[in-house]
């Protein structure tokens, strides 16, 4: 028997009141936990995903949308840009490197992104199996995409048009998995990567140009008119599916081609001043800086986060008041108990400690519950939304800031116990015991 067990006995003797107060506090602290995790991980992951990208160039529209679509692959692209124009930018002396991206298809919600091998170096990937794509329609899968789609090396699949699930399938061509990436914790985990050529040829299926569909194993389901056109095309060109794709820079094409956007790296600091302005005013494209747009995004999110934080603080304060009232009331009923404890040899200080221990045990319980609730809630949300922005968040990361939550809980416990402890200190035993 000691003061801690005694305080626990008192708490567990009133399970309803104790439970209610712990849960009330836990809700407030759970919101704070979720906010901490989401804010921290979003900022960290978004900043990491944008590392090495100084500027994103794409079709005119919302700059934030361009960044979200091209860097994080979570929003719709603003449109396509002419490759010729894009190539002109890449030849600018202020540009160190350009990685072109071609988007427009998905595989069960995982975006198929056409790019070159520089994109893989940008995110410093390593392979768990296979190697990079070398011919059209060879793909490399990000770790989580491979796991979710259940695809292995050598498997084939068809993509669907559009960047979200539900559109029509491109059943002319089958993609073949030639590489699977190791998990990086970055955006590439969720992508299906291939060459820009693959994306082009997929969309060429209307039949007007170069693709030779008869060379593919998959039988054609379309009518004969299509086949005729294909034969025409075949007679004019060499089979493009046998030509290795471009590993760096832009692929070559004898036609007018488009890409979706460019990830661009500056050659020197001067570029940051001149290049965006030049692109925005002198071309039909727009340039957006990830750093700037991210700062703007966090600012926008900040309003919502502040609101939720306010709610959480209000909940914690209410919980604190409720714990105070519970302690105060139970202490009123227990004045006699306190007097008895004194006659058994307890000092005033021990009684004060007892009251504080009770308050602090209760809030510690609330803190543990709150942190568990916060992580659990995030885990459920992440589990339920397989392909959204929230999947960026890992619910089982524990931040040192969560120690602060214990700090808050401790402070609430101390504050709530202050007045009851004082009244326990003041209790006159003789007066209490002679009262009937």
């Amino acid at each position: 028997m000691n003061l801690l067990t005694l305080s626990w006995k008192y708490l567990s003797f009133r399970p309803l009141s104790t439970g209610l107060n712990a849960i009330l506090l836990a809700f407030g602290l759970a919101i704070i936990t979720v906010l901490l995790l989401v804010q921290h991980q979003f900022e960290q992951k978004m900043t990491r995903d944008a590392a090495g990208i100084d500027l994103v160039v794409g079709a005119k529209g919302s700059p934030l949308q361009l960044i979200l679509a091209s860097v994080y692959h979570i929003d719709f692209p603003t449109g396509n840009i002419k490759m010729e124009e894009a190539q002109r930018i890449s030849r600018n002396r202020l540009v160190k490197q350009v990685i072109p991206l071609a988007m427009g298809d998905n595989m069960q919600g995982f975006r198929i992104v056409g790019t070159n091998h520089d994109y893989l170096s940008l995110y410093e990937v390593s392979f768990t199996a296979g190697k990079t794509w070398e011919f059209p329609f060879e793909v490399t899968l990000g770790a989580s995409a491979a796991q979710a789609l259940g695809l292995k090396l050598g498997d084939t699949f068809t993509g669907s048009h559009g960047i979200s699930v539900g559109s029509h399938d491109h059943d002319q061509q089958q993609f073949k998995v030639t590489g699977i990436l190791a998990p990086t914790g970055k955006v590439v985990d969720r992508l299906v990567l291939t060459s820009i050529e693959s994306v082009w040829y997929t969309h060429d299926e209307q039949g007007e140009e170069s693709i030779a569909t008869e060379e593919v194993e998959m039988p054609l389901e379309e009518g004969t008119s299509h086949e005729e056109e294909v034969h025409d095309a075949h007679s004019a060109f060499m089979d493009p599916l046998k030509v290795p794709v471009a590993a760096q820079g832009f692929p070559t094409s004898n036609q007018e081609r488009e890409v979706t956007s460019l990830l661009l790296r500056y050659r020197n600091p001067m570029a940051a001043i001149q290049l965006p302005q030049m692109i925005n005013s002198a071309t039909s494209m727009q340039a957006a800086s990830p750093a700037f747009e991210l700062a703007r995004l966090f600012e926008l999110l900040g309003v919502g986060i502040s609101l939720l934080q306010g709610l959480a603080i209000a909940l914690v304060i209410i919980a604190g008041l409720s714990i105070f009232i519970a302690l105060y009331n139970s202490l009123k009923e227990r004045k006699y108990d306190l007097a008895i404890l004194r006659t058994l040899g307890a000092s005033r200080l021990q009684l004060v400690t007892l009251v504080f221990l009770e308050g602090i045990s209760l809030t510690t319980l609330g803190a543990l519950l709150g942190i568990a609730l916060g992580h659990g809630f995030l885990a459920i949300v992440v589990e339920l939304t397989a392909q959204e922005v929230v999947t960026l968040v890992d619910p089982w990361v524990f931040l040192p800031e969560e120690g602060l939550i214990f700090g808050y809980a401790l402070a609430v416990g101390m504050l709530a116990s202050l007045i009851p402890a004082w009244s326990a200190y003041q209790t006159s035993i003789a007066k209490q015991l002679t009262k009937t």
Binding site: L341, G345, A346
Partner: protein
Amino acid sequence: MLLQTTSLRFAYPGQAPISFPDISLAGGEALLLLGQSGSGKTTLLNLLSGLLTPSQGSVVLDGVNLSALKGHRLDLFRGQHIGIVFQKPHLITALSVKQNLELAQFFGKKKGLAPSDLLQDLGLAAKATAAVGTLSEGEAQRVSIARALVNSPKLILADEPTSSLDDLHAQRVVQLLKSQAAKIGAALVIVTHDQRVKSEVSQVLEVKSA
């Protein structure tokens, strides 16, 4: 003498002071304090236990003057050397029977009697792990006696210990107090106006309002 009081006086604020007759008791002796209600019996008991400080006079228990002890030292002295049985059992309801006894030993910082042995002695062995709320009035009062005895005190004070008990239990409680006090060599003071107790104790002291 184990317990010796000399010319005790106590005054509640705004009231006339009460004077108490001197008490001197040896170990193993029992004393009955009688008096009208309002005569100051309980006040005297509180003075004996150090819960109230006399305005004049002294209480000396086993050579220690209670008035000389202050703060926690007085609390600890009381926990170790004085066992108090109240009119109502006043057990800590959040704890089991045995835990109530262990609590007394924790606060008294003393290993007096083994709680299990004591409960055995008082016929409460089967109730050791029972919740206090499930005890009958008589059982609860016996537990409160066990709690007063568990630190093997030098002085046992009982304030109307039988008033809420039936004849059988009242007699049993008084017998228990007497036999246990004799067993550990403690002085026993019982405050009562219960006729059933008077026949059990030979030494009687009448407290009268001054």
